[in-house]
């Protein structure tokens, strides 16, 4: 038996497992018990966003398998010369490491948020934002390097023109997601730092009060962006 917390602080017993799912969906008020509006909305948005990235990646794969010109070798294209030797994919490996690490700090921030530890939560969120910004910075470096080597959206020196098109489009779209995430991490961190979620200060635009759950909702977005990167990493760089 699970339970549902109601408005007036009572708990109601609810069945678990499949019966619980059936009971929740056939109940009134909420289909997902104990899921706030904001969290539900973020999950559904992420589902929709999954379809966007899915379409981008499927289109890229279609372009890659249907082109008659050889596809540039990502290991070589994305290699860096460090200490006199070419190390394949090293920058991408570091970028991936940085982004995955930021998921770790984000998870810690959520944890401290629920413990009402404002200082640690804000610091960890800012650390997450810093790691995200580092990722975007390295992506900018990668773009610069490729552009100086002659890669353009409409062509490149090594093979299929779609290589550059897909690269800039997909990493650009993902980088935009990371950038938006960084901005919102800073905004939420500021609210946590200032104690908005304790004092019930209202949002500037929405005039609604926020809760520490917002840190978790922010975390959902951030983990999603990381997860998408794993797929981009696997399908674009490792293929």
């Amino acid at each position: 038996m699970g339970e549902t917390l109601t408005n007036i602080g009572q708990t109601e017993p609810r069945p678990t497992g499949w019966q619980g799912i059936a009971a929740d969906w056939s109940s009134d008020q909420r289909a997902f018990k104990n899921v706030s509006w904001g969290k539900a909305m973020m999950w559904i948005f992420l589902l929709s966003d999954t379809f966007i990235f899915g379409c981008f990646l499927l289109s890229y794969m279609t372009a890659r398998i249907s082109t008659r010109v050889p596809w540039p070798n990502p290991s070589k294209v994305f290699a860096l010369r460090i200490g006199g030797s070419e190390i394949p994919l090293i920058l991408i490996a570091i970028m991936t490491f940085v982004l995955i690490s930021s998921s770790g700090t984000m998870a810690m921030a959520v944890n401290f948020g629920y413990r009402r530890d404002r200082r640690k939560t804000a610091i960890l969120m800012l650390l997450t934002a810093a790691l995200g910004a580092t990722f975007v910075g390295m992506q900018a470096f990668e773009w610069t390097k490729l552009i100086t080597e002659g890669v353009r959206p409409w062509g490149n020196p090594w093979g299929a023109a779609q290589f550059g098109s897909c690269f800039f489009m997909i990493t650009g779209f993902h980088g935009t997601h990371v950038t938006i995430g960084v901005i919102f991490l800073i905004i939420v961190a500021r609210k946590v730092w200032r104690g908005d979620y304790d004092t019930g200060r209202r949002g500037f635009f929405t005039s609604r009060t926020g809760r520490y759950e917002n840190v978790e909702i922010m975390g959902l977005y951030w983990h999603f962006v990381d997860l998408v990167w794993v797929f981009i990493f696997a399908f674009f760089y490792l293929w």
């Binding site: 109601e12 008020q29 018990k33 539900a40 948005f45 929709s48 779609q162």
Partner: protein, 589 residues
């Protein structure tokens, strides 16, 4: 007999009431409003305004087709621009925006017993981004080269080549930008509608007590959130092809003897992305219509909807199936026969849930106390029209029949019947039905009946002959039909007749618009519940509903939405928030 203890099997409230945003000025009350009802009216008004543009475009097209050579200003280029903008506006900027942004915003919070959408600020942004999308679209009429003439499907490679109007000018860029904006705006609204239905219902309102209107809009919104991403991606990629010179969709191709810089792209990829959006889009428009028409029929026949659960599952089933049929729009693009077989099969399977719905509507009417009010007339007209349009869909869903018919007027007749006329009839019925709630006054009855008969009969006189022209082999997408040897003289007369009818039906819409505006002040006072309906929006303390919808306390729902003519009850309807038991209800246990 009547037990009014608030508990009555209803669990306590689970969610704390969220304080609503209270507007401080005229601007925040009526312009930058966060109230879903105001946003709904804004959405509807904008959609109607842009829909009028599309209506005028259809007149211009019919002028050209019916009386070729008479009007010099309609060049072939202009004709293609009209056809493109007409299609795109009607499907996306009118029907999608009106059903989801208009009816969705107005009806969802009221019908589920909520004070507003869950995130009113995001909801407001949704409308303003939609308005921006519409303005960008309209601006293409004034851009150099005019709007795009690529056809509403925007197929590459022709969409961005110089032979197509707007292809190398501003037209296609503005079109794609507008679509991208529309999708962003719609997503903001759509998330709101879905979360409000799932998580924002009042006490006692289970999913299986939702009026079918809410089920239709809800399912359509979920579908839109999953289908629009494909259009978004396709628009971004084509924009890059056009602006940056990438080759996602552009194969190696030469134009006017000159090799274009594109190379190696796949036009078919665009078609897949487009139709992965495009087919669900048909049902994004149709499912809200199905839902609304169910409620209209039940209310105006004073009888519970037949097979409520089957109706719900049919809506959900159609929604799911519509994601696996998209390539039936691409039979003539060429595909492996097994794929054709697969997509033909899935397409025909959709006939099962839709047939269930039609039977249930008819069985709801069976022995009902049918009031031939204007909403009911439109609802009945919808059933007939939907069956007609659906039956020709069975023809076109089969590969061997589709291939010869695909490029003919038969297809034009089919999709106008099934996703043009049929949903718009529901839109009209719904407006006549809910206008009293929105304004507090009834629409004028005489003008309404005139509007109905001219629209209904006129639509048939336009689109029925088109089937014959199509079977004869008259092609669609042609700007002129003068030297068609396959067309007999009588076929030419029929063609001109269609044009005349198009004008008459269009004129009837002007009467309707006049009625809409005139009745705001001069209509008969409606009272709170003129149709004696059961659903929550008719039980509000004020009409039109005030900010916050339900006064001090939210309603508690004790029954389903279809307790009409319950034996033993005093009235022939029992509102959803009326406690107690009155007799043998047909609510599924």
């Amino acid at each position: 007999m009547v037990d009014i203890t608030p508990a009555d099997g209803i669990p306590p409230a689970e969610v704390a009431e969220v304080e609503l945003y209270h507007p401080h000025s005229w601007w925040t009350k009526y312009v930058f409003s966060q109230d879903a009802k105001v946003i709904a009216v804004q959405y509807s008004a904008t959609a109607t305004a842009i829909g009028l543009v599309a209506l005028v475009l259809s007149w211009l097209m019919r002028l050209q087709l019916g009386f070729p050579g008479t009007f010099d200003f309609i060049t072939p280029e202009a004709y293609y621009q009209f056809i493109t903008m007409h299609g795109m506006i009607m499907v996306i900027y009118l029907l999608t925006a009106l059903f989801l942004g208009g009816f969705g915003n107005y009806l969802i919070p009221l019908m589920v017993g909520a004070r507003d959408m869950v995130f009113p600020y995001v909801n407001m942004l949704s409308y303003w981004i939609y308005l921006l999308a519409v303005l960008v679209l309209v601006s293409s009429f004034f851009a150099p080269g005019g709007p795009t003439g690529a056809g509403w499907t925007l197929y590459p490679p022709q969409a961005i080549m110089s032979g197509t109007p707007g292809g190398q000018d501003w037209g296609i860029i503005l079109m794609l930008s507008s679509l991208i904006l529309f999708i962003i705006g719609f997503t903001m609204g759509g998330l709101n509608y879905v979360v409000t239905v799932l998580q924002g219902r009042t006490r006692g309102m289970t999913m299986m007590r939702l009026p079918l209107t809410v089920w239709g809009i809800f399912t359509a919104t979920v579908m839109a959130l999953l289908a629009f991403p494909a259009l978004f991606v396709a628009s971004v990629m084509m924009l890059l092809d056009r602006v940056l010179g990438t080759s996602f969709f552009m194969p190696a191709i030469s134009e006017m003897g000159e090799q274009l810089p594109h190379n190696g792209g796949s036009p078919i990829l665009f078609q897949h992305l487009f139709w992965f959006f495009g087919h669900p889009e048909v049902y994004i428009v149709a499912l809200p219509a199905f839902g609304i028409v169910s409620d209209l029929i039940s209310t105006h026949a004073r009888k519970n909807i037949f097979g409520y659960r089957m109706m719900v599952w049919a809506i959900v089933g159609i929604g799911a199936l519509s994601f696996v049929v998209w390539a039936h729009h691409m039979y003539v693009s060429g595909m492996h026969p097994y794929f054709g077989f697969f997509f033909a099969t899935t397409t025909l399977i959709i006939a099962i849930p839709t047939a269930i719905k039609v039977y249930n509507w008819v069985l709801t009417l069976w022995r009902g106390d049918i009031h031939l009010t204007i909403p009911m007339l439109f609802a009945l007209a919808f059933i007939v029209t939907f069956v007609n349009g659906g039956l020709t869909g069975l023809f076109l869903g089969n590969v061997v029949v589709d291939v010869p018919l695909s490029d003919t007027m038969f297809v034009v007749a089919h999709f106008h019947m099934v996703m043009g006329v049929a949903p718009i009839l529901v839109v009209f019925g719904a407006i006549y039905h809910w206008y009293p709630k929105v304004t507090g006054r009834m629409l004028n009855e005489t003008l309404g009946r005139f509007h109905f008969w001219v629209t209904f009969l006129g639509a048939y006189l336009i689109f029925f002959p088109m089937h014959y022209l199509g079977l004869m082999g008259v092609p669609r997408r042609y700007a002129e039909l003068t030297d068609m040897t396959i067309m007999t003289e009588s076929a030419h007369h029929l063609n001109s007749f269609i044009s005349v009818m198009a004008f008459i039906v269009g004129f009837a819409q002007m009467v309707f618009l006049f009625n809409l505006i005139w009745s705001v002040r001069h209509g008969r006072e409606a009272g709170g519940n003129p149709w004696r309906a059961t659903t929550l929006e008719w039980q509000t303390p004020q009409t039109p509903p005030a900010h916050g919808n339900f006064g001090k306390d939210l309603p508690i729902v004790y029954r389903w939405a279809y307790d009409y003519s319950v034996p033993g009850a005093k009235e022939d309807f029992i509102p959803q928030n009326m406690p107690g038991s009155f007799g043998p209800s047909r609510e599924p246990a």
